[in-house]
């Protein structure tokens, strides 16, 4: 049945690529939810542009996963025909937009990881991943700069903006540990020089975050309990709702085109 979910043959490489593709798609979709709601025209454009970058990265990654899986799936099948439990994204990126401070902080925490991640991936033995990485690292560099500028402005701004940044930090920090996790699936890919070990990026990420927080006069939290599970399809309650809206049309009218 065309409207049903697809079955993905998750070899380590397919899973590795889908995990990164899902990060990009889910965060890109979250940013698209801001369309028409941003606080200023410039931010409307910025959020939409960043969302577009991420959805573009997702499309390239899904196409690569399709070629590797070789099961007749395409980018749309991965995006629209997998259930919540089939998604492999980080919990951080599926968290709701909240207010502007929350969206900006989520973007900064992810981008400060993704920029050096993709830079390292330009040396991947998988030439397609290396090529995707070469674009993504430049795009994420723009995201880091933009979100960091706002994090500083809000953290070091009014009592209201600062309180909102602190609340966002309280809400999101617990999802940052997952950025640096690698399980057996990731390691099977990393060992071949196709992926990179995320824990090697932790120190640099913390330095970036600490530098920006110092300017924002925000206090860098201690690493306490970290929530995980997204890579295995165990998501927070928010992803299902997002997918219900994102996938509705393709589920209701399979293979609809326009």
């Amino acid at each position: 049945m065309a409207s049903g979910s697809i079955y993905v043959t998750e070899t380590p490489l397919v899973s590795y690529v889908l995990r990164r593709a899902d990060d990009a798609l889910v965060l890109g979709h979250r940013l698209s939810e801001w369309c028409g709601r941003a606080p200023t025209m410039e931010e409307e454009l910025a959020l939409a542009n960043m969302g577009l970058d991420l959805i573009g990265q997702a499309r390239s990654l899904y196409s690569h996963a399709a070629a590797v899986e070789a099961a007749g799936h395409d980018e749309d099948a991965y995006a629209y025909r997998r259930d919540e439990r089939g998604y492999r994204n980080l919990l951080l990126v599926e968290q709701p937009n909240g207010d502007f401070a929350c969206t900006i902080l989520r973007q900064f925490l992810y981008a400060a990881f993704a920029e050096p991640y993709w830079r390292a991936m330009t040396a991947s033995c998988d030439s397609t991943l290396a090529a995707i990485a070469a674009k993504a690292e430049k795009e994420m560099a723009y995201h880091v700069r933009h979100s960091a500028e706002w994090a500083i402005r809000l953290g070091n701004g009014t009592a209201e903006s600062r309180a909102r940044m602190e609340a966002a930090l309280e809400r999101l920090w617990t999802f940052t540990g997952e950025l640096f996790e690698a399980d057996g699936i990731d390691e099977a890919v990393i060992v071949h020089g196709i992926g990179i070990a995320p824990h090697t990026l932790h120190h640099g990420w913390r330095e970036t975050v600490a530098r920006v927080f110092a300017q924002a006069t925000l206090i860098l939290p201690k690493d306490g309990y970290m929530r995980k599970g997204g890579r295995r399809g165990q998501h927070s309650e928010h992803l299902g709702h997002m997918l219900a809206e994102m996938q509705y049309l393709q589920r209701a009218l399979p293979d609809a085109t326009w």
């Binding site: 910025a46 577009l52 573009g56 499309r59 397609t128 070469a134 674009k135 560099a141 723009y142």
Partner: protein, 167 residues
């Protein structure tokens, strides 16, 4: 004596000229040859194979460009066309031709600075106003109306303008 062979354009050269003349739908003064998006044109049997490279990961113009290439070649008598997207080597604004940069500037968009390696992304210290040439300009917004542009303002002539970002 001029023979017909010297007058009739070879099919490959013709296909290359026609594909290369397709313009960017967002910046209609630039052809895909100017942009460095056109990578290769081959003829295999009855099929014209065209390789293009995406600019920004999410640039919506790429689908449009692929359709325009097919239409242009069909209009010139090439029956079958296949447009391939080639990711590697990765497109950079350094591939934009000098002709392309000149046309962009005349159109009112400040061309990307050369040496667009990643470190140069944020090394933009001055962007000259495409209207009056003044280097006394300010960035208004890092993300502009399309993925490839940011918004600037000239402090001398007071005109706002787009800057084609380094990539």
């Amino acid at each position: 004596m001029v023979t017909s062979a010297t007058i009739v354009e070879a099919p490959l050269a013709k296909a290359r000229r026609i594909a290369g003349a397709v313009v960017d739908p967002e910046i209609p003064v630039l052809t895909i040859a100017d942009l460095g998006v056109l990578r290769d044109v081959r003829i295999a049997g009855e099929t014209v194979e065209v390789d293009i490279t995406p600019t920004y990961s999410g640039c919506p113009a790429m689908n449009m460009i692929a359709v325009e290439i097919e239409l242009a070649l069909a209009g010139a008598g090439f029956v079958k066309t296949r447009v391939n997207s080639v990711l590697s080597p990765t497109w950079t604004t350094d591939w934009m031709s000098d002709e392309g940069r000149r046309k962009l500037s005349e159109y009112g968009i400040a061309p990307p600075q050369k040496g667009a390696g990643r470190r140069a992304l944020f090394g933009v210290d001055e962007v000259a106003c495409p209207r009056c040439g003044s280097a006394n300009t300010t960035e208004i917004a890092a993300f502009g109306p399309t993925s490839c542009k940011s918004l600037w303002r000239c402090n001398r002539c007071q005109e706002p303008f787009d800057y084609f970002k380094c990539h």
